[in-house]
């Protein structure tokens, strides 16, 4: 859905602060629509200076809107263990079991998003997700650089069987090199690349052709067509392609494409608990990656299955 008017009321919104305009504009828009009583905000220490101004503006906005904003909780890309503990402990402390939550994933790194989804799943909290696109033509040249070592998330490593080969299933983005890095790191026997369909943002030239060319000499690489902004469709496509792999492989899932796809992969993980979720971190982000705010995509995750 693309209209914010159909968003449901929840008492809590969870977000990760950013320097992108759509963070501030989007969160304000959400507060106006969802009318929460509490906002839980995390931010990354490494980019604290970049996000400081918008965090302060949002604090002031919350104050005016009578929304309780507890002191934002610092996370760190360089300390995944501390970040995981902070996300889990703070979420558990701040949310009542089965309490409906609005999760703003717009500027939320996938590792944080999956960890929060994991906690909310444990707490059986119904989850309304929201993603704000940038304005039309609002993407910069690049999003991230300097990849860190890929890592499987705590508690989301699935069940791995002895003696099986690895299959890597990736929801790809524009950056072929990051996918190559995942392949290089995990050395999978089989690779399944989820590629965005359609020609938005010059997708065919930028994405599909690059991937086909980059992997045309690799054995055992398959392409899966997915629509990156349609959660159920992505989920179904990945479940359908991943499930048969589990018979003979240990499967690692990773997401480098549209954020909604990342959320869909979490749902895939819920449907297929044996798969592992892997995060591919970056150590450098583009301060002018996006501008403005565009459509709002949102939906509901029932959290009917615990992971």
């Amino acid at each position: 859905m693309n209209q914010t008017s159909s968003l449901r009321h929840t008492d809590v919104i969870i977000t990760v602060a950013s320097w992108e305009e759509r963070f501030l504009m989007g969160t304000k828009r959400l507060i106006d629509t969802v009318r929460p009583s509490r906002l839980l905000m995390f931010y990354y220490k490494e980019y604290a200076e970049w996000s400081k101004d918008y965090r302060e503006q949002l604090a002031s906005f919350c104050n005016d809107a009578n929304v309780t904003l507890k002191p934002p909780v610092p996370l760190s890309f360089g300390s995944p263990l501390d970040s995981w503990k902070a996300l889990v402990e703070y979420s558990k402390k701040s949310i009542v079991s089965k309490e409906p939550i609005t999760l703003d994933i717009t500027t939320m790194p996938r590792e944080a998003m999956w960890t929060i989804c994991y906690v909310l799943g444990q707490m059986q909290a119904p989850l309304q997700y929201v993603y704000h696109k940038p304005q039309r033509n609002g993407y910069g040249d690049w999003l991230s650089r300097d990849p860190g070592q890929p890592r499987i998330l705590y508690r989301l490593a699935g069940i791995q069987h002895l003696g099986r080969e690895t299959a890597l299933v990736v929801q790809t983005g524009y950056d072929v090199e990051r996918v190559k890095q995942l392949v290089r790191y995990y050395e999978p026997e089989k690779v399944l690349l989820g590629l965005q369909t359609g020609d938005q943002f010059d997708n065919v030239r930028q994405n599909r052709e690059k991937y086909k060319s980059a992997f045309n000499t690799h054995r055992n690489v398959e392409i899966l067509d997915v629509d990156g902004y349609e959660l159920d469709g992505i989920q179904d496509a990945f479940v359908k392609s991943t499930e048969p792999l589990l018979e003979h492989h240990n499967v690692i899932l990773s997401s480098l494409g549209p954020k909604i796809g990342g959320l869909a992969l979490f749902r895939v993980k819920q449907r297929l608990p044996d798969v592992a979720l892997s995060y591919a971190p970056s150590n450098e982000f583009n301060q002018v990656y996006s501008s403005g705010i565009g459509d709002c995509i949102h939906g509901v995750l029932a959290n009917d299955a615990e992971t």
């Binding site: 300097d146 990849p147 890592r151 490593a157 791995q160 069987h161 090199e177 290089r184 592992a276 450098e284």
Partner: protein, 575 residues
């Protein structure tokens, strides 16, 4: 001859079939005797240096297939067990959430069950190794010694696999469910591997066998696992088992044991450097390269030697012959009463330099071609050797009209040149544009510094090549005046360049006798794009750390004033 399959395909070694491993592996690597010994051995080298291939070749299934092929009985005095570490189980990180005791126990458990599974698989890869009566007895022994309940009605190997997998799944299940106080039975080295080996020794054919565990990609083990492995390596009695451990060079080898002690090179283990520097035409690597390519050519019945298959451009050969005559004339003028060695040394040093120097400034880049050049371009790394061969073969095949029935007897020099220049150009473009997205820990600034350092080295080496100096073709360097604190950034740049396999290093003799220093060898695939001679010569240039740091950080050219400033020097090969 058939041309349908590219013989130079270089997949990960683990993707090769045992038959391909057997056909492609060149047995007499100079370190092979260590791998098939009863010692503890560390193989250290970056990706593509042949660690996995070596392990797979010596693993029991390949050795059995080899023996069967030559109608011999497999040698059971050494049971080599290949243990791959790069699997999602090793990548689990819940140990970080546990208290140190549980973290250590769980980590060791996962490692031990993986090794035990591979051990029994290695044994069962030998046909008829265990008769029915022995299998019944072995099953009972294993159940008792390892406190395992094996499912009835199926073969021992499968039953053992299932029992181990169940044990692993039970622990994973607890970790997934937030239960960190693990209260189920976990295997340790003693309760698992040693107990299993004791059982296996009861099999008549294994009574005198030594088990060599070949742990591949050990850098992926977590700290607890590495410490446990080091503790096992510290066992002094190598009669029953030993460990061969392969790891990448970029990660310094941690040597601590679980009990807080350390293992020592030379005492507890032997370390082998898998990155063999390319030194001269007769060096071990050159011979190896020749045999590797020959084995690939034999696999497609090419009926050609590597030099026949990758011929040198005749124009280049002729130009070199002319340059050699000029060098000879210069040598005779310089040493009117010179010995034949003096004359030969001069010709060796200057022939190629004369060729490059006397080329017209307007000329295209040299017609890089020939197997010898390909071997030099590899910089001593097997993957770097096969990669251009792969693309040349592919390109040549594409150029042929009748691809299905194409016979490839050689790769035309023009195709070789085209591919070499393209790959060289791509290498520079990769440094400039993609390295930052590909190499872990490489920031935009570091990538820029690596590019600037290599660029300025290329400029320096080009100036040297075109100058009448004593060692014009040197394309390696050492660093003088290096201060870890003052030049920390330079060291970081070099570390990233090494990780990206743009620079290789090795230790060799310094000018001062008895001292050893680090030699830096940039990837020679960089040089064709810059019109340099990838063949180089047995010389290195001593560069100051200050100059290198300025080149990397500030893009300032490295000072060159002939022979005086950068101290070219013949080096003594250490290998």
């Amino acid at each position: 001859m058939t041309a349908k399959r590219n013989p130079f395909e270089y997949e990960q070694a683990t993707k090769l079939t045992p038959a391909e491993v057997r056909n492609y592996y060149i047995e007499d690597f100079n370190y092979a005797r260590f791998v098939s010994s009863r010692r503890n051995v560390f193989l250290v080298g970056e990706r593509g240096t042949g660690k996995t291939m070596t392990f797979l070749y010596y693993s029991m299934p390949t050795q059995v297939a080899k023996a069967t092929e030559s109608q011999k009985t497999p040698d059971l005095s050494l049971i080599s067990v290949y243990v791959p570490c790069n699997n999602p189980l090793t990548h689990r990180r819940e140990y970080e959430l546990l208290d140190p005791l549980n973290a250590s126990l769980v980590s060791e458990h996962f490692m031990v069950i993986s090794i035990m599974r591979e051990a029994l698989a290695a044994v069962y890869s030998v046909p008829n190794i265990i008769n029915d009566d022995e299998e019944t007895a072995l099953r009972t022994e294993i159940e008792y010694a390892l406190s395992l309940t094996l499912p009835k009605g199926i073969g021992l190997q499968r039953a053992f696999d299932l029992a181990l997998d169940k044990s692993s799944v039970n622990v994973q299940d607890l970790l997934n469910r937030d239960e960190d106080d693990i209260r189920i039975s976990l295997f340790s080295f003693n309760s698992g591997i040693r107990a299993l080996l004791a059982c296996l020794r009861q099999v008549s054919q294994l009574r005198d066998s030594h088990f060599s565990f070949m742990i591949d990609d050990a850098q992926l083990y977590n700290l607890y696992q590495i410490r446990a492995l080091n503790s096992w390596i510290a066992y002094r009695d190598n009669a029953l088992f030993s460990f061969k451990v392969a790891r990448t060079r970029a990660d310094d080898t941690p040597l601590h044991t679980s009990s807080g002690g350390s293992i020592l090179e030379g005492h507890d283990f032997t370390q082998i450097d898998m990155e063999q520097p390319y030194q001269k035409g007769t060096s071990a690597f050159w011979k190896l390269a020749k045999r590797i390519v020959q084995s690939r050519l034999d696999a497609i019945n090419a009926n050609a030697t590597p030099s026949d298959f990758f011929p040198e451009n005749p124009t280049f050969t002729e130009a070199l012959r002319v340059a050699a005559s000029k060098a000879k004339a210069e040598a005779r003028a310089k040493y009117p009463n010179g010995t034949s060695k003096q004359i030969a040394d001069y010709i060796y040093k200057y022939t190629r330099a004369i060729y490059f120097r006397e080329r017209s400034a307007r000329a295209n880049l040299p017609p890089y071609s020939g197997f010898t050049l390909l071997a030099h371009l590899s910089t001593g790394v097997i993957r770097n050797l096969l990669n251009p061969c792969y693309y040349m073969y592919d390109r040549h095949l594409s150029n042929l009209q009748d691809k299905n029935h194409a016979l490839v007897s050689h790769i035309p020099p023009s195709t070789q040149t085209e591919v070499i220049l393209e790959l060289s150009k791509e290498k520079w473009e990769w440094v400039q544009n993609d390295m930052v997205n590909r190499i872990e820990g490489c920031s935009g600034e570091l990538a820029k510094s690596v590019y600037q350092l290599l660029d300025n080295l290329a400029i320096l080496f080009r100036k040297r090549l075109l100058s009448k100096i004593s060692e014009p073709r040197a394309v390696e360097f050492t660093i003088s005046g290096l201060d870890d604190t003052k030049h920390a950034t330079l060291l970081e740049v070099l570390q990233i360049a090494r990780k990206a396999q743009l620079v290789y290093t090795y230790r060799s003799s310094a000018k001062d006798q008895g001292k050893r220093e680090t030699y830096y060898m940039p990837n020679r695939m960089l040089w064709p794009e810059r019109g340099l001679d990838p063949e180089g010569q047995h010389a290195r240039v001593s560069l100051t750390a200050d100059n290198l740091q300025k080149a990397a950080l500030n893009n300032i050219e490295i000072t060159f004033t002939g022979d005086k400033t950068d101290e070219p020097d013949l080096f003594t090969p250490a290998h």
